[in-house]
Symmetry: C3
Subunit: 254 residues, 3 copies
């Protein structure tokens, strides 16, 4: 249904791998590299040019790399200068600006808006409508739920940009904000509707506006079973590299 080679634009300066499908009404611009076994669905723009394109005669698009196994859903705009690890997957209408780097096995949900100049580790799952400001640094196995915002300007408006830094296994719930420059440890959890302005240490659950320490995440019980739910890698392994081996075995072997 989607792959009728209808109104497709592919730059002669793009490199397209084997077994790549490009949906109808999609445009692939200069210096985009799409590796094997990748699907770019309909109505996407890959390699969106930077601001200079509109104003400079000699503009050249920086390289965009989409590694193998990606599934980019419809109406997505990806700027040039970004790099995506293997098996990258998206929802619809996401916008990812220049110089964003994603590791392997990451997912980005519908309507998410990544402002660029940011780094993600592996296995990050961004749900719908996540907004990541520039200069953010995100670890691996990080879950970001809908309507979460990472900010970067401590005294707006200014030309200072200090993004948050987030450790592995982090989770942050709906309508929460990381304020500029906060540092978050590993295995942390931010509850819904929180504004986080201070650093958070490993294994902490924080909550509220301003966000305050509530308890160690290892004290949170599953509502049904009454057993601890965190650290979550012991309880959840769908599509995770420890799915077969268990988390401890995987950790030690790594």
């Amino acid at each position: 249904m989607k792959f009728n080679n209808h109104n497709v634009f592919i730059s002669p300066h793009a490199k397209i791998g084997k077994n790549v499908r490009i949906g109808d009404n999609t445009s692939i611009y200069d210096n985009v590299r799409i590796d094997d076994n990748t699907t770019i669905a309909n109505n996407c723009v890959i390699g969106e040019p930077l601001q200079d394109y509109y104003f400079s005669e000699h503009y050249e698009n920086p390289e965009t790399v989409i590694k193998s196994g990606a599934l980019i859903r419809s109406h997505t705009v990806i700027y040039s200068g970004s790099e995506f690890g293997e098996n990258f997957a998206t929802g619809h209408r996401i916008t990812i600006r220049e110089y964003t780097k994603f590791g392997d096995n990451c997912r980005v949900g519908t309507l998410s808006d990544i402002q660029g100049y940011s780094t993600f580790g592996n296995h990050c799952w961004l749900h719908s409508n996540v907004h990541i400001g520039q200069k953010s640094t995100i670890g691996s196995f990080v879950f970001i739920y809908p309507y979460v915002v990472f900010t970067n300007d401590p005294t707006p408006p200014s030309d200072i940009s200090i993004g948050p830094t987030v450790g592995d296994y982090f989770q942050i719930a709906v309508f929460s904000v990381l304020l500029p420059g906060v540092q978050i440890g590993v295995h942390c959890l931010v509850g819904a509707g929180s504004i986080v302005g201070k650093d958070v240490e490993d294994f902490q659950l924080v909550l509220g506006n301003p966000a305050k320490f509530v308890k160690d995440v290892r004290e949170i019980k599953d509502r049904k079973t009454g057993e601890p739910h965190y650290p979550w890698p012991y309880r959840f392994n769908r599509n995770m590299p420890w799915a077969d081996s268990g988390f401890d075995y995987w950790l030690n072997k790594r």
Copy 2:
């Protein structure tokens, strides 16, 4: 302006009724049924295939039904397997995933993101940028204001999905969240910026993070007149079935 039959794709396996207009750059995929007197504006995708489409050779699109009188505005993506009652209307760029069921006379605003596997009654009005998680159950005459989120995972990440259940005549204001599994009665009101984690009984106004009972909605006065504003069906009837008869008469006759 919109209906020039330009770059339109209609699957031979779609069923299009009488007096149906399909806008330029719109795609209608397999097994979509569009009933009479319906307008699908430009740049829409109707019958978006499910995840399996990308991975299975023998994928078949489930049926999508849009009943008569619909007006779907531009850039909307509607997945297959969903059903829409009469006079369904949308803003722009909405995304509605599979197995969503809307009753009659519902409206969904610009940028809203319905994650599928959910049910809406009749006369539901969703404003812009509403996010409804999977497994939500919504009554009739429900107003959901911008940036409201219904969630479903009580201990994220997990594979458990328990959506909220919402009674008739419910209203929920901007930046509010229903947490997984909450049950909301009839004629309830959630104030702006609230996180609702506990069940709410009929006619309650709740507010805050965590949301707490404030007062019976029948005690809320109109700022100008000083008279009670709720239950709102006595004060508001635009496009409602009691517009001519009054709410009590309509209720008793029903």
Copy 3:
């Protein structure tokens, strides 16, 4: 890359100035006036018709005016009946409804949703995902950060619409709301996650839900230097008319 004259629709009733570039897959509808030196990128709709278009045989699109120097990024929908001052710039996928008026040098970020019937002064910068309800009145040099909502219905649902009024040099941070009819003075600042239900006087910082007075903005210190940061025009001048002269000189000369 973007300007191949491919699948472009321009109404014969549109007026296009000199040195105007129209991107691929873009539609320009009736009675749109685009002044000189303007770029409309790909996949945009300019002059989107009003509701009546779908129901009236004799519908005529009201005039849309985009003054010189604009840069409208991809997938943007601008309704007819609106007017944009010089050097208007947007991100991607914005929606601006009818009878919106922007002054000169304004910017609107990705995914923002302006509901129409509103007025903006000059040099307003709206970041991503800003939602402005109808009947809002906004001054000049106003910064609106992501996920900010201006509302207008004091007793929803109703047919009453009273938008907020906002003074010059105003800033409002992420996930904040102006409730219907609030009046905000000049040089005010609303902190992140605030719900503003009462009027705010000149130079006030307010915060919280409900938002309360915290301090005079002139008492806020820069974290690094310890010096006052506000009023911000003394500390920030990028693209501002006082960039060369300084704020005081510019103010006095005006």
